[in-house]
C-alpha cells in the first residue's frame, strides 16, 4: 500500500484525518482499516466499485455511521469514542459530535433538502437555528449563495417543485451557508438525469478552484481527474491505491484499479 508513504508531516493543517478505520454491518466488514488525510485546500476524490465502502467511509467521518474501530480527527480535534459494548464504538460526547458536524458540510446523493421549507429557509435553517446567527444576516448571506448557484429567482420555491439539478445546487448552497472547514460530497450527481449532471459539476468545480477542502465520493472519473488533488481508490474496504490523478489514472499500479478504470470508461 502506498497510503503510509503519502502521509507526510506537512506544514499545512489537516482538515480531516482518518486512521485505521474499520466498520462492520453485522458480520460484513465494509471497511477494513482505511487511513486518509485531507489537508486544507485539498480535494480528495474517493473512487471505487459499488460495495467498496466509499460512502460508508464518508459517512463515518461525520459520524452518521459509527465505526467499529479507528480514529477520526477534524482539524486536529479527535472525535471522542467509547466502546458500545457490542464490539464497536460509539461517540462518547454528543455535544462534540454536533459541534464537529457544523464544521463539515455534507451534500447527499438524494439532496435531502427539507421539503417543508423554501430554498431560502433551507439555506438559513442551520445558520439561524444551530449556529445562532442573526436572521437578517443569514438571509443576506443566503441570497449571495443562492445567486452563486443560480437559484436566486427560486429562493421562495419549495424543493419538490425543482429539478434534481436545481435541488442539488440548493443543497450545495445550504452546505456553504455553514462556512464549513471541509465539504463531504456523497455521490452528488448519481441521482441526476445525465443532462443535469453538468450544472452541478460546474458548481463543485468552482468550489474546488477557490481552494475549499473537499472529500468527494464520485463515479464521474473525468471530473475526479480534473478537480482532485488526490485520488483514493477503495477496493473491498481497503485503500488499494492512492496518489495524484495523473499517476493513478495514467499509470495505475494495481491490476484491480486498471480493471476498474477500463470498466468505467
Amino acid at each position: 500500500m502506498k497510503a503510509e508513504n503519502n502521509l507526510k508531516d506537512g506544514d499545512i493543517a489537516e482538515a480531516v484525518t482518518v486512521e485505521d478505520l474499520h466498520k462492520s454491518f453485522g458480520d460484513i466488514e465494509v471497511l477494513k482499516g482505511v487511513s486518509l488525510k485531507a489537508r486544507q485546500g485539498e480535494v480528495i476524490a474517493i473512487i471505487g466499485g459499488s460495495g467498496s465502502g466509499k460512502s460508508t467511509l464518508l459517512r463515518c467521518i461525520n459520524m452518521l455511521e459509527w465505526p467499529t474501530r479507528g480514529r477520526i480527527s477534524v482539524h486536529g480535534e479527535e472525535i471522542a469514542m467509547k466502546s458500545d459494548g457490542h464490539g464497536g464504538l460509539m461517540p462518547s460526547n454528543r455535544k462534540q459530535i454536533q459541534r464537529i458536524r457544523t464544521r463539515l458540510a455534507m451534500v447527499f446523493q438524494s439532496f435531502n433538502l427539507w421539503q417543508h421549507m423554501t430554498l431560502m429557509q433551507n439555506v438559513i435553517e442551520v445558520p439561524v437555528h444551530v449556529l445562532g446567527r442573526k436572521r437578517d444576516e443569514a438571509i443576506a448571506e443566503a441570497e449571495t449563495l443562492l445567486r452563486r448557484v443560480g437559484l436566486y429567482e427560486k429562493r421562495d420555491a419549495y424543493p419538490a417543485f425543482l429539478s434534481g439539478g436545481q435541488q442539488q445546487r440548493a443543497a450545495i448552497a445550504r452546505a456553504l451557508a455553514i462556512q464549513p472547514e471541509a465539504m463531504l460530497f456523497d455521490e452528488p450527481t448519481s441521482a441526476l438525469d445525465p443532462e443535469l449532471v453538468g450544472e452541478v459539476l460546474t458548481v463543485i468545480r468552482d468550489l474546488a478552484e477557490e481552494g475549499r477542502t473537499m472529500l468527494l465520493v464520485t463515479h464521474e472519473m473525468g471530473f475526479a481527474r480534473e478537480v482532485a488533488s488526490e485520488i483514493v481508490f477503495l477496493h473491498d474496504g481497503r485503500v488499494e491505491e492512492q496518489g495524484a490523478p495523473e499517476t493513478v489514472f495514467d499509470n495505475p499500479e494495481s491490476e484491480r484499479l486498471r480493471k476498474f478504470i477500463s470498466s468505467v470508461q
Binding site: R99, F108, N112, W114, H116, D156, Y158, F161, E195, L196
Partner: protein, 277 residues
C-alpha cells in the same frame, strides 16, 4: 456565476390551481341543481315554523359555545397527547411504545359512548367516595359532567390521532432527518424543526377529516347531562312540540361549524404546496 436555470424548469407551479371560476358553475345541470336547492331553502323558510328562534336564541348560543369549546379543547389537548403517542411508537423504547400502542388500540377499538359512560358513571361515582378528592380544589369541577365529557373526547382524539401521527412520523423520508443530524442538530432540534413540522404537514388532510368527525362526536356528551348544542335542540323540541324545524336548524349549525373547520385546515394545507410528496 449567475447562470440561467431555464433548461430544467420542469415546473413553475408554486401555488395550487385556482378554484373554478363563476362561469364554470353556469352549466345547465349545475343551474338545475342550484335551483332545486334554492327552492328547498325557500320552501323551508316559508312553509315551516321559525317563530321560536328568537325566544331560544340565547340557549342556542350557549349550546353552540359549549360545543365549540369542547371541540377546540379536546382536539388541541388530544393532539398534544397524540404527538408523543405517535412518536414513541416510531422511535421510542419498548417500555413506552407498547403502552402507547395498547392505548391507541383500546381507544380505537371501543365505542366512544362506552368510554364516555365508563368515565362519567364509573370514575364519576368512585370519586365522591374518596375523601382526598372531595376535599381537593378539583372537587367543584369533578362534580360537574363536562370534565368527563372533555376527558373522553380528548382521549378519543388522542387515540385516533396518535395512530395518524405514528404513520406521519414514519413517513418522513429518512434522508431529511439524516441531513438534519449531519448539520449538527440536536435530537430536540431535529424533532421540532424538521420531523414534527414535516409529519404534521403530511398528516394535515387526515387531521382535517378527523376533526370534522370529532365535531360530530360531541353530541354524545348530551347523554351525560352536558348541555351542548344538541342537548339545547332536544330541549327546544320538547317544549315547542316541533319535530323537524329544530333538527334542521341543528344540521345547519353543524354544517357551518364543519365549513369553518375545513376552511381553517385548507388555509394551513395551502401554506406549503405539495407535489408528489
Amino acid at each position: 456565476m449567475n447562470r440561467q436555470d431555464s433548461p430544467d424548469d420542469i415546473a413553475d407551479i408554486e401555488t395550487p390551481p385556482p378554484l373554478p371560476r363563476l362561469s364554470a358553475l353556469m352549466r345547465p345541470h349545475r343551474i338545475a341543481i342550484m335551483a332545486v336547492a334554492l327552492a328547498l331553502v325557500v320552501l323551508m323558510a316559508v312553509k315551516m315554523r321559525w317563530d321560536w328562534l328568537p325566544e331560544y336564541a340565547g340557549m342556542l348560543l350557549a349550546g353552540f359555545w359549549i360545543t365549540a369549546v369542547l371541540l377546540v379543547a379536546s382536539t388541541v389537548l388530544g393532539f398534544l397527547l397524540a404527538v408523543p403517542l405517535g412518536l414513541v411508537q416510531v422511535t421510542g423504547p419498548r417500555i413506552l411504545s407498547w403502552p402507547a400502542r395498547i392505548f391507541c388500540t383500546v381507544i380505537r377499538g371501543t365505542p366512544l359512548l362506552l368510554q364516555l359512560w365508563l368515565l362519567y358513571f364509573g370514575l364519576g361515582s368512585l370519586f365522591p367516595g374518596i375523601p382526598e378528592i372531595r376535599q381537593s380544589f378539583l372537587w367543584p369541577y369533578l362534580r360537574e359532567a363536562w370534565p368527563y365529557g372533555l376527558l373522553a373526547l380528548t382521549l378519543s382524539y388522542a387515540g385516533y390521532e396518535g395512530e395518524v401521527m405514528r404513520g406521519a412520523f414514519a413517513g418522513v423520508p429518512n434522508g431529511e432527518l439524516e441531513a438534519a443530524r449531519a448539520y449538527g442538530m440536536s435530537r430536540w432540534k431535529v424533532l421540532t424543526r424538521i420531523w414534527l413540522p414535516r409529519a404534521i404537514h403530511r398528516a394535515l388532510p387526515t387531521l382535517a377529516g378527523e376533526t370534522v368527525v370529532q365535531l360530530k362526536s360531541t353530541p354524545l356528551v348530551a347523554t351525560i347531562t352536558v348541555i351542548d348544542l344538541y342537548a339545547v335542540v332536544g330541549d327546544i323540541r320538547q317544549s315547542t312540540y316541533l319535530t323537524y324545524e329544530p333538527l334542521l336548524f341543528l344540521a345547519f349549525l353543524y354544517l357551518c361549524l364543519t365549513g369553518i373547520l375545513v376552511t381553517i385546515f385548507r388555509h394551513y394545507e395551502n401554506k406549503i404546496p405539495t407535489r408528489g410528496m
